[in-house]
Symmetry: C2
Subunit: 263 residues, 2 copies
DNA sequence: CGCGCGTTTGATAATTATCAAGTGCCGTGG
DNA sequence: CCACGGCACTTGATAATTATCAAACGCGCG
């Protein structure tokens, strides 16, 4: 499904204004910022292109400016699995390591802010404020990994899908979610297609489809387009996710509050 | 199963000599080391005690000296899930965050080297070399999380169990593994009981048991004790794990090579 | 000896993967 | 303008895997 992905909310961000390595820039001194900008290069990758090959040399690190990256691991039997998604402001690649044991690919068309790894690393070593920023970024990544783990905790496909939708709303409210006109309901824009969703949730395309249609039948969601759902019964969705950490009121107020997201 | 856990290889380490915050100490200046030691306190926790409660205040960070910690998340329906295990030299807790969304509990009796979080954080802020060490530690944690993800990639319980056993051998060769007298086969000491193993591999005690017994029937392993297996067909175990990244020869040579582990 | 705990084993039901076919949509090209 | 092919998604039937419930086993310990 090409079109909805390109025009998806997640990718419909302003021209780099806010998310241009926002995750890193925060808290840096002007001097460090200047040095950082000096080695930064914006690059655009088409959908499904490989940014970093699995097991390959890791030449670049950087952060996502626009679009979605998937970290994908290929298994011996040909199956593959998505071990994480990266959205704008997330860092990709790994500092202080020269190999990646998973490949990084473009789940949509992406714009990346790239730094040549060695140049970036020496900058990190010479600028303690940048090192601190990197530490925070890596801690975020760690949280994301733990969140992924939560995702897989769900026993059934339905539970995992519910958790995923709720995670989208909470972690990236203004990139993936909107409110209906009356501000009563949330509309979620799933940033990836069924195929990737299946790999991400550890199941198959068919099971994902059945779960989505099941939600629709049960009145939990209303399918606007295959990647755009209106959540019509938020409490039920939360109950289904088997996760106590979601709060309907908090999700809604977070969205109503202009731009109080996590960035 | 109390006894085997206490006398398990993983917990049978020398008195703090090597693993006393080894992960952090590496590369630190004597000055920083002195400051670090000044705020360090060794504490012992009995099995199943809660070191950090889920959702609770995060007062301490530190690293494991002896024993195994489990990071456990409780779900709304009462089930729980292990999101990671921490073995000697691993850091626990999270710097620069005051809540933990999972609890940290002792999977065996553990000895921890604790730092009061705020004191540790200010030390981190004032010592760039310590910050660098923390960054490396967090990167290791991130790798561990990704490895966990690999663990769950296996479609069947058998595949996940095989992957887990191989991961033990590769990541902590000298804490969990030994060689048979003729140096031909590996003996793995599983650091946790069936119950935790089930939570870790995302299945039930019964399925774990069936998988273990199945391995034994098929000649892949020989069960010495419930937590101590001799791997009798390493290549088959690797094939079963559906993971291309394990290498029988490498695992064996790694173990034969005195102490060339990852520490 | 009996109790508790961890493990094992068995039977059944629920969940999901797999295989197979069908639908709707869009862009291409006659 | 419409037929065609490709792609993403949906739907259906069947088989494999696993969770669940239930009970038994082995073993250390009081």
């Amino acid at each position: 499904m090409e079109r909805p992905l390109v025009s998806n909310e997640v990718t419909r961000l302003g021209p780099d204004a806010k998310f241009h390595h926002a995750g890193l820039r925060r808290g840096l001194t002007p001097s460090t910022l200047r040095k950082l900008d000096a080695i930064a290069r914006l690059r655009v990758f088409p959908r499904d292109s490989v940014v970093v090959p699995q097991g390959g040399a890791l030449e670049y690190v950087g952060n996502v400016v626009r679009g979605v990256l998937r970290m994908e691991r290929l298994l011996a039997d040909g199956r593959s699995q998505i071990v994480g998604l990266l959205v704008p402001s997330d860092m990709f690649g790994r500092v202080f390591s020269d190999r990646s044991d998973y490949s990084i690919e473009a789940a949509t068309e992406v714009t990346l802010c790239c730094f040549e790894r060695h140049a970036f690393e020496s900058l990190v070593r010479s600028c303690p404020d940048l090192e601190h920023a990197v530490l925070l970024a890596v801690l975020d990544e760690l949280d994301a990994a733990r969140e992924w783990i939560t995702l897989r905790a769900g026993a059934t496909v339905a539970a995992r899908l519910a958790t995923y939708l709720l995670m989208l709303c909470r972690r990236w409210p203004h990139q993936t979610s909107e409110l209906t006109g009356d501000q009563q309901r949330i509309i979620v824009n799933v940033p990836i297609a069924r195929n990737d969703l299946a790999l991400y949730l550890g199941t198959t395309v068919e099971s994902i489809s059945r779960a989505v249609q099941g939600f629709s039948r049960d009145g939990l969601i209303s399918i606007r387009t295959p990647l755009r759902f209106e959540i019509t019964d938020l409490p039920a969705l939360i109950a289904l996710s088997e996760n106590e950490e979601f709060d309907a009121a908090a999700l809604l107020t977070d969205l109503r509050a202009g731009c109080g997201g996590s960035f």
